[in-house]
């Protein structure tokens, strides 16, 4: 019976070998595909690219001579307005702060939000013994919308109301080094009043959802490494890092985003 046992074992081993080999070889390799976007992803970093551009969309300019106004009221024009208004909400220049506030008043409807948004600039311009670090003629924080170059329309009704997030690049004054680059998201609520007017902007740290009007705070993050003093350039690694804990869907690239 010893021999029988061996023969059976040998047969068994051969069958098992074939079976295991078939299973192991035919097992599909796990593919790490990302969930497909409903829009065609055609940008460098996989975001869809729209036809609208930063710095266009309006017919007039505000009192500062550069902020574009006079939009058509479409949702695309709301996205353009958001891009054009974003610097007003995020930049701080010690010398031109008063003018900037004035321009902001022109393109917005007053409300409690205004004071919050301008508190940072107010603080900088009123603080005595301000540390050194402001660059290029008083800049504390300067933005470059095209460096971020992404927008997300959270909600929009033509000629009524739109909530848009804009992903911008910025250069921030440092105390000890040259300015450091970073990226951030500026959300704003636009209401139609003959033109798109800002009726709320910039979430606070304890309200990342902008009062429930956007699904998350949007991508943000500083560029790693030592500050360079130049506006940041978006890379795939940076996209991965700023989008690490927020959703990618809904974000669209401006046609003239810096890539």
């Amino acid at each position: 019976m010893q021999k029988h046992w061996k023969a059976l074992t040998a047969v068994g081993v051969v069958i098992v070998a074939v079976a295991v080999a078939v299973i192991l070889i035919s097992r599909p390799t796990p593919s790490a595909e990302q969930e497909p976007s409903s829009l065609q992803a055609s940008g460098k970093f996989g975001f869809p690219v729209s036809t609208i551009k930063i710095g266009e969309g309006g017919t007039k300019t505000a009192g500062d001579g550069k902020t574009i106004t006079g939009y058509s009221g479409t949702c695309d024009s709301a996205a353009q307005a958001a891009a054009n208004f974003a610097p007003l909400l995020s930049e701080v220049n010690l010398k031109t702060w008063a003018d900037q506030k004035k321009t902001l008043t022109e393109v917005s409807v007053p409300g409690p939000w205004f004071e919050k948004v301008t508190s940072g600039g107010d603080l900088m311009t009123t603080t005595k013994n301000l540390p050194s670090g402001a660059f290029d003629g008083g800049w504390v924080s300067r933005s470059d919308v095209a460096a971020g170059g992404l927008y997300r329309v959270a909600s929009c009704e033509e000629k009524k109301r739109a909530v848009v997030q804009v992903f911008i690049g910025s250069l921030n004054a440092q105390v000890k080094t040259v300015p450091a680059g970073g990226f951030g998201t500026v959300p704003m609520e636009l209401t139609w009043d003959g033109d798109w007017k800002i009726t709320d902007a910039r979430q606070s740290a304890d309200d990342p959802n902008f009062g429930g009007r956007v699904q998350d705070r949007g991508p943000a993050g500083a560029t790693p490494g030592e500050p360079t003093g130049d506006f940041p350039v978006l890379t795939q690694d940076l996209v991965n890092s700023v989008f690490a804990d927020v959703r990618r869907d809904g974000w669209i690239e401006y046609a003239n985003a810096k890539r």
């Binding site: 059976l8 081993v13 069958i15 295991v20 940072g120 603080l123 670090g133 910039r202 790693p224 490494g225």
Partner: protein
Amino acid sequence: MRTLSANKTIRLVAALLSLFLSLGVITAGPAQAADDITKSEKLNADQMKRLAGLPDDQRNAIRDRLNLELGKTACGDMAFYAAMGGSNCENVAAKAFETFLTTPEKSLDYGGDTASFCAALPSAGAPLTGTTWCTGGSIIQKFAPVAGAVLRTAIAVQPGGQFVLGAVDTVAFIANAKDGFEKFANSTKEAGVSATNEVLVNLLKVSKFDVDEGFRTTWAIFSGLGIILLTLMFFKLFRDYSDEKIDPDSMRESVLWYAPLAILLALFGPVLGYVANNALISLTESISPWTANQIGTFSTTISRFASYESNGVFGPLAAVLLFGLLFIGAWALLGLFALAPIALYLLGVGIALMLGFMIHPEHRARVGKVGSLWLGIALSKPLLLLIMGALFSFISSRPAFQGGGTSDALVNASSVFIAAAAMVVLAFSPALLFKFVPILPSSATGLGANRPSIAGAAMVAGAGAGIGAMIRQRRTMQAQSGPASGGPVGPNGAGQRQGSPGLPVGPDNGMTGSPAGAGTGRRSAGHAGREASGAQDPTPTPDTRTIAQAQRDDRAGTPTGKAAAAARNGAAAFGKGTATATRGSAKIAAGGATAFLLAGREASRQAAMRGRQGVHSMAPDTDHISGR
């Protein structure tokens, strides 16, 4: 008989193991995922693992340092610095970070959760303007996680940081290596220290075994085969019953109880395995943090070796030997842990295959043996972890590893030896475990409780006898240079001593006593041994031919038949002893090594005697060892 059947199981497992390994090579590509890196420029998975293994005080120091770096980054921003009122900004910010970044991992992973930071600012002592500015959202894009060069520098200056970064800077053992051997000593030291560090850190992650979907699928295939074997076994059962080899009671037991039980086990085996394995996993998990801590401490100890330099008696030869031992110990330890899941997997499916054997009273014991072996291996991991933790904590607390260390050459050398020996002991501790903590029936493995040293003694003896026989053979051949077919007649041959009084003669080989005692002298120890074992194993052990073949090749030109016979005679002497577990290459290697040591007839004669003791008596009296 029990030994032989257990041996067959081992052979089967070995065959499956080699099969599995070769398949593993094919499928290794997709399965082997690269070490995932948490984020670019951050710490990689290995470094994170090492960080996790550091002692608590070092981890806290690294966390504080990282939080301070985060605070520096935040306060580097001019606007925030101004809002915070200036000079004390960094400390206040670091304090705020500390409230929610409580571990170094959290500090490393911090990606700009400004809400928690801003909320913590007031309690950390920040001015109202700072908090307002922070919650105002102005800060949102200005927080960089600590990464890149800043991160490396921050970690590197902390105690244990160098170890985390894997930047254990190995100092050349001999500063200006002149000859090849000194260079070899240098590279041995480097390889020994770095390999030990790497291996220790990764030790706990190689040994995971899960009863998962894959195992269930494989189990299904194997138990299918097992059920086919079950039906075949029924035929044998019925035939044996009709031959009256089995009594009606056993028959009834087999058919009524064991057959349904086998089917039930085929169905519910994975479930039972899952429950048992998970119980053991939770047991292991309760132990591993403590062990990981000990490993971390031990690794710090090992890192100390990196700075050792040649000093007095601790010269290149000692370095090669000691650091080489360290290297071997580390890899053996890793191998031990790496093999456990494979063994569990294969034994598991082996059980599925063997389920059919349960119905036959003659073969039933085998299933139980494999089952208990599976349980034994599964149980050995928590036990090993405990022992490992204890051993490592003992070593780390040695005076040589405390404080600034010592420059005493012997103390340093012995500390390397202790560390290496500890790992070697651990690597071979399953054998010790089975010996001193007999959780298995003694015959389930070759490492059973009652057979402490058969294999070793028999190998030594066998090799010795083989060499002796060959020497005799050759001399006789030279002397006779004739066609004497019977081979040599050596009055001093090992075989002559076979019947000498005092040698224990086992119950199963009484027949060997008389022909040997008659003084034919022709029968070598090996031959006798083989004959004795032939009763149990009708096939001549196939792997002894390997030696014979080798010898035949070596001795091209001499009468090959004789030489081969001589070699086989010798080799067969340890056939039985080694049949317990080690065959093939281990035997050849051991035989070869021993041949050098025992070159000389006297030595071989004594060894043959010991071998016969081992071979013939099978079980030396070990009552004084096991206490039974």
